[in-house]
């Protein structure tokens, strides 16, 4: 019921279509089922004409029959468009559902993304919704097909009963027995299908592990043994598949038997009735055809159950998106407007990715002032990126607080704050837009601002050298550029708004030492009053900072200038030694 209500929700904007689809359903059932009826008339008319043996009657009969055939042909061709309308609604529902959940994901916080990997979310937004026979298909085609089948089944019964109720009842006598067999088999099939699903996911795990761990396997000569293990799984799969097939065959044979026994009954009992003149020849043939039409809807309805299970599982996955908290809901929804950022203070902040995990950051105190450059150094996993995200307002502190111009960040408008912050993530993300749009990124900036940002990011000339300059499309169906260039574009994106606070998460890889020097020189001229928080591995960068924080295992273990820290902080020296060695060896 939950699922049906869910589906209903997405039907809301398309409600008028339901009537059309229902109408088309009835029309299509009527046309399909009038087909044998028309044959009945044709045959009876022909039979009558033959008995009459009048040449005039013969000619008119022939024409009458031909027109009948044309009429039924046209009607049938038109009803063939009905599935087209269903497909159209499938597509509309698909769009609506995707846009809804895409919008939800856009608002989610870190906790949500801890839990769902990108690939998983992409599947939920694409294949789960638009695949066959998944959500969108089921929500329209699946349901209306079942409606169509039921209506066909009912029509069929009604027509047969009306034509000759005795023969109709006789021909469906095998139905109840067969249905019992069928429901038993279906239950068994369900069990086996689950088993198959399990063993298939086991094979997938085995493959994943074997390919990811191929070095270990090779080093320990485990290849042959791994192949044997894999084969065992596959043999199990064969066993299940075969038993599944047997059951399926049982099921289809049951269906077939329903039709077949019915046809035999029609042939014998119906034949006898024709002999006794209690049934016309046309009716005899119509019964024979109805029994084969009657079968198809009967197969469609159980199909609905099978696909519903699959679609409902997908729906559950969508609902999960809605229900999984992002960990930031209702935290940053203040309203105090911010014109500019003068000072950001992190006060005794602690951050945990999960409640029961070690904190990624612990008791962090830090002040970022206008015009001041703050560097953060520390080993991999010491919490540097987390710190930057905390300052950016992406991650809310679990304990402690962040203040902006002495207002709690919670109370001020986060959109205002973000618009004054230039954030450069460690992994540059570009989108399939033009260079210019990637830099201005939804904000209104003219070409000259974009160019000046590109120049500061030391990438202007390279971008202007592209075939279409800064209007060059990137990404899908566009050009792909190098990792370093991506990162520098991300820098330009952060700078184009002339931010009051620049957050830079380790860009050593994309800016070589010379470019970085040039960058800071330009920066000092263009944005002298901006506060900076820079995560770096580069000694020269750290050295120039007004204050350096040394991070180790989520704590600040040193704070001061380069020379102060050299005196007092062991971790800082160890950091230096590694970096200096790197510098020494790279000469």
């Amino acid at each position: 019921m939950k699922h049906i209500r869910w589906i209903w929700r997405f039907w809301q904007p398309h409600r008028p279509w339901i009537w059309l689809l229902l109408f088309l359903t009835l029309l299509s059932s009527a046309v399909t089922l009038s087909y044998p009826l028309i044959f009945k008339f044709m045959i009876d008319a022909l039979n009558a004409a033959l008995t009459d043996a009048n040449p005039d009657v013969a000619r008119t009969t022939t024409w009458k029959l031909i027109w009948m055939a044309v009429a039924i042909g046209v009607a049938r061709t038109l009803t063939y468009l009905y599935p087209g309308f269903r497909a159209m609604l499938n597509a509309r529902l698909e769009m609506g559902i995707r846009e809804h959940y895409f919008g939800r994901i856009l608002e989610k916080g870190f906790r949500f993304f801890q839990r769902f990997r990108t690939g998983d979310l992409v599947t939920r937004l694409t294949d789960d919704i638009g695949g066959f026979p998944k959500i969108a298909w089921f929500s329209c085609s699946g349901i209306f097909r079942a409606v169509e089948s039921s209506s066909k089944f009912i029509f069929c019964m009604v027509i047969m009963l009306a034509m000759n109720w005795k023969l109709a009842l006789l021909s469906i006598t095998p139905l109840p027995v067969m249905l019992m067999i069928f429901y038993y088999l279906r239950k068994e099939i369900g069990i086996r299908a689950t088993e198959r699903q399990k063993v298939m996911s086991k094979t997938n795990d085995a493959l994943e592990a074997a390919f990811s761990g191929v070095r270990i396997l090779k080093a320990f000569r485990g290849e042959a043994n791994q192949v044997r293990e894999f084969r065992t799984l596959l043999d199990e799969r064969i066993r299940i598949e075969i038993s599944l097939l047997r059951l399926w065959m049982g099921l289809t044979n049951t269906y077939w038997a329903i039709q077949f026994v019915g046809q035999i009954i029609v042939i014998v009992a119906g034949g006898l009735m024709v002999i006794d003149d209690r049934l016309s020849l046309g009716e005899f043939y119509a019964f024979y055809v109805y029994l084969s039409l009657f079968l198809q809807p009967l197969m469609d309805i159980p199909h609905l159950f099978v696909t519903s299970r699959q679609a409902f599982a997908c729906i559950d996955r969508e609902i999960e998106i809605e229900e999984t908290p992002g960990g930031v809901e209702g935290i940053y929804d203040g309203t105090i407007p911010v014109e500019s950022i003068d000072q950001v203070e992190i006060k005794n902040a602690t951050f945990r990715y999960e409640d029961d995990l070690q904190p990624a950051l612990q008791n962090i105190n830090m002040v970022l002032r206008s015009g001041e450059r703050t560097a953060v150094v520390g080993a991999v996993g010491s919490g540097k990126s987390t710190l930057v995200k905390l300052a950016a307002g992406i991650l809310p502190p679990s304990d402690g607080e962040i203040t902006v111009n002495n207002h709690a960040l919670k109370d001020i408008s986060i959109a205002d704050y973000r618009s004054r912050v230039g954030y450069i993530p460690q992994e540059a993300t570009l989108f399939s837009e033009s260079v210019k749009d990637n830099v201005s990124y939804g904000r209104e900036f003219d070409s000259s601002s974009v160019n000046s940002a590109l120049r500061m990011a030391q990438i202007k000339d390279e971008m202007h050298a592209l075939p279409e300059g800064i209007d060059q499309m990137l990404g899908q169906r566009g050009l792909s550029i190098s990792g370093g260039q991506k990162q520098r574009l991300a820098i330009a994106r952060a700078l184009v708004g002339k931010p009051d606070l620049l957050l830079m998460d380790d860009v050593t890889a994309s800016l070589d030492a010379e470019n970085e020097r040039a960058f800071w020189d330009d920066f000092a001229v263009e944005l002298p009053n901006a506060a900076c928080l820079i995560v770096t591995h580069r000694l020269a960068t750290a050295r120039q900072a007004d204050v350096i924080y040394v991070l180790s295992e989520g704590r600040i273990v040193g704070r001061g200038t380069h020379s102060e820290l050299l005196e007092t902080c062991e971790e800082y020296r160890s950091f230096l030694s590694r970096e200096e060695l790197a510098a020494a060896l790279s000469v």
Binding site: I43, L46, E99, V122, T126, R215, K218, F220, G442
Partner: protein
């Protein structure tokens, strides 16, 4: 490599369908008997389905006019017998062909898996696990469908269709000839339509890919989107790409259904022909009404197979790409070959040497340049240097994950390429920094699925590697499944398990990539003890990160920019006062402040001064 596994558009197929078929046929050869049986049955079963309309004609023309109840019953009995037999045989046929298909595909699947596992690391570096999984799993499943259901149904449809035509021709050539004239017309129209629709559906797939592409991009860049308040733009863009897809999808669907709707009109056209030609003859008495009805009934059943045929041909076309991919992998040659010598001929008595070894992952981009050094039996060799300098490549070459392009690696004077790969790797134990545990039990992980290793042995080595304590605490101990591949174990604990794994095979040469990550003091002590046990009496090549390991090494190789920059013992290298000395000085300043060379040598606590024989 010539083979590209990118999703290629149709048309850039490098092998013709016939060529692919030639590769597939040998798979069936060993099962030919069942294949013939299956298809023999298929023909019978399909033929038996033609009986219905014939019976109908008999009853209408013979039994009913004569009011002959006996012949009516007789016809019904014949019908029951033939159709019942058909159903029975149909069951046997389905099971036979299915078993045949699933066995062939399972063989293919495990062969493919085996082949991929045996392909060199060059191959694995190029193809992500995800992609390989879809080759081994999805592509073979597509093949299963292709050679199972699809082929069988295709054949069934062809037989059924031809069967109908033959029956019609035999019954009344006069009418059948007209229908025969229609057949090429319908096939022509179908073919034309499929060709016409192809670009439209290709465009639809491209639009789908764009939707997926944008979703991926936006989900990946969610931080940036939120940070720059881009949500509304992202939503608008999503709507755009959704609409682009919709605008292709809906007309294409309508055209598709419209065509098939029109196509079904062909059925009516055929019936009209039967009327025009048949009715005058019925009046003339040369055609019975039963025959007329039989014709109508056959025509009613004749068109569905044509539609299904077109779907099946479509599927076959699409799935040829899977065939191509699967055979592309199977035809990829192993880059590492077994040598001609026997396992027993491989001894390790004296030393392993790198002799002027050159290696490049990509042509001419030499990662290792003219490297020579020797590892004497019993020595501990420490590899040091910056990451990217070539240490791990040396390890890769040593393990024969790759073979050098120039120079050679020898053991007691013979090139290691002379021996079977397996025999060579048997001499080696590997402990990687990235500790990889397989899904499965602890014991399976320790013996890397080699069931011939007895559990007692596993327990023994676990104890030596100080891993017994951890394993004892796990639910199910040695037979317990590792949850999430050991995600519930700490780094240090996983390290101990990987030590035990290396010990389980008692290799004479140990290749160890020391872990850089720090662990808690208690585990650290265990790791150190285990490490000592592991190195005891063994030759070892260690990618070293701990100073203590380096100092205790019999030989240190400073590898930098692909060459052995400095080589010697710790004291000797300090004397040289080169890069190594610099490294050590830096490392030591953190611990005890600025020191002179002499102070370094004298203050370093030797863990086991007696170790090392050379």
């Amino acid at each position: 490599m010539w083979w590209h596994f990118e999703e290629s558009e149709e048309g850039v197929r490098k092998q013709s369908a016939l060529e692919l078929l030639r590769k597939v046929v040998p798979l069936f050869r060993p099962h030919a008997k069942y294949l013939y049986l299956g298809f023999g049955l298929l023909i019978f079963v399909t033929a038996s389905q033609l009986i219905g309309p014939l019976i109908l004609r008999y009853i209408i023309d013979k039994s009913i006019p004569a009011a002959d109840t006996r012949s009516l019953l007789f016809a019904a009995v014949i019908y029951v017998c033939i159709a019942g037999l058909g159903a029975g045989f149909g069951y046997i046929q389905a099971i036979t062909l299915f078993k045949l298909g699933i066995n062939i595909i399972t063989d293919l699947k495990s062969k493919l898996f085996e082949h991929v596992l045996h392909l060199g690391l060059d191959f694995h570096e190029k193809h992500s696990p995800g992609r390989l999984i879809s080759r081994v799993e999805s592509d073979t499943e597509t093949l299963k469908e292709l050679f199972g259901d699809v082929s069988v149904n295709l054949l069934r449809n062809v037989i059924f269709f031809i069967g109908i035509l033959i029956t019609l021709v035999v019954t009344d050539f006069g009418i059948a000839a007209w229908i025969l004239l229609l057949v090429p017309l319908f096939f022509g129209a179908t073919f034309w339509f499929i060709v016409k629709m192809k670009p439209l559906w290709r465009e639809w797939r491209a639009q789908w890919a764009i939707v997926t592409g944008y979703v991926t991009e936006y989900v990946q860049g969610i931080d940036v989107i939120q940070q720059f308040n881009y949500q509304n733009r992202a939503r608008a863009r999503m709507k755009d790409v959704n609409l682009n897809k919709y605008r292709i999808e809906v007309p294409a669907t309508f055209i598709e259904y419209g065509f098939w709707g029109g196509f079904m009109f062909g059925e009516i056209a055929a019936i009209i022909i039967v009327f025009i030609v048949g009715i005058p003859r019925a009046f003339a008495g040369t055609l019975t009404i039963g025959t007329l009805i039989m014709f109508i009934d056959f025509i009613r059943q004749m068109f569905l197979p044509i539609i299904q045929l077109s779907e099946q041909i479509n599927f076959i076309q699409r799935s040829l790409i899977s065939v191509e991919r699967v055979f592309g992998i199977l035809e990829t040659e192993r880059s590492i070959e077994d040598g001609p010598l026997k396992d027993e001929e491989l001894l390790f008595e004296e030393e392993i040497r790198f002799e002027n070894v050159w290696f490049a992952y990509e042509e001419d981009n030499w990662i290792i340049r003219d490297v020579s050094f020797s590892i004497r039996k019993g020595q501990k060799i420490a590899l040091v240097g910056m990451s990217g300098g070539g240490k791990s490549t040396v390890v890769n070459l040593l393990l024969r994950f790759y073979d050098p392009q120039k120079g050679r690696i020898t053991i007691d004077g013979s090139d290691i390429r002379e021996f079977p790969v397996k025999a060579w790797r048997e001499k080696l134990g590997l402990v990687l920094q990235d500790i990889f545990l397989f899904p499965g039990s602890v014991s399976d992980n320790l013996r890397v699925f080699d069931k011939t290793v007895p559990i007692e042995h596993i327990e023994k080595v676990a104890a030596i590697a100080r891993a017994d304590g951890i394993i004892g605490k796990l639910p199910g101990r040695y037979e317990g499944e590792l949850a999430e591949r050991g995600a519930n174990l700490s780094v240090g604990e996983r390290q101990l398990i990987s030590f035990a794994r290396a010990l389980a095979f008692d290799p004479p040469l140990l290749v160890l990539d020391e872990a850089t990550s720090s662990v808690d003091p208690h585990t650290e002590r265990l790791v150190q003890e285990a490490l000592d046990q592991l190195l005891e009496g063994r030759t070892a090549v260690i990618v070293a990160h701990r100073l203590s390991t380096i100092i205790n090494a019999d030989q240190i190789l400073l590898i930098h920019n692909g060459i052995v920059e400095e080589q010697g013992k710790h004291d000797e290298l300090l004397e040289e006062n080169g890069l190594y000395a610099k490294l050590v000085r830096l490392q030591f300043e953190e611990a005890v402040g600025p020191l002179t060379n002499e102070r370094i040598s004298s203050t370093v606590p030797r863990l086991n001064p007696a170790r090392g024989e050379s």
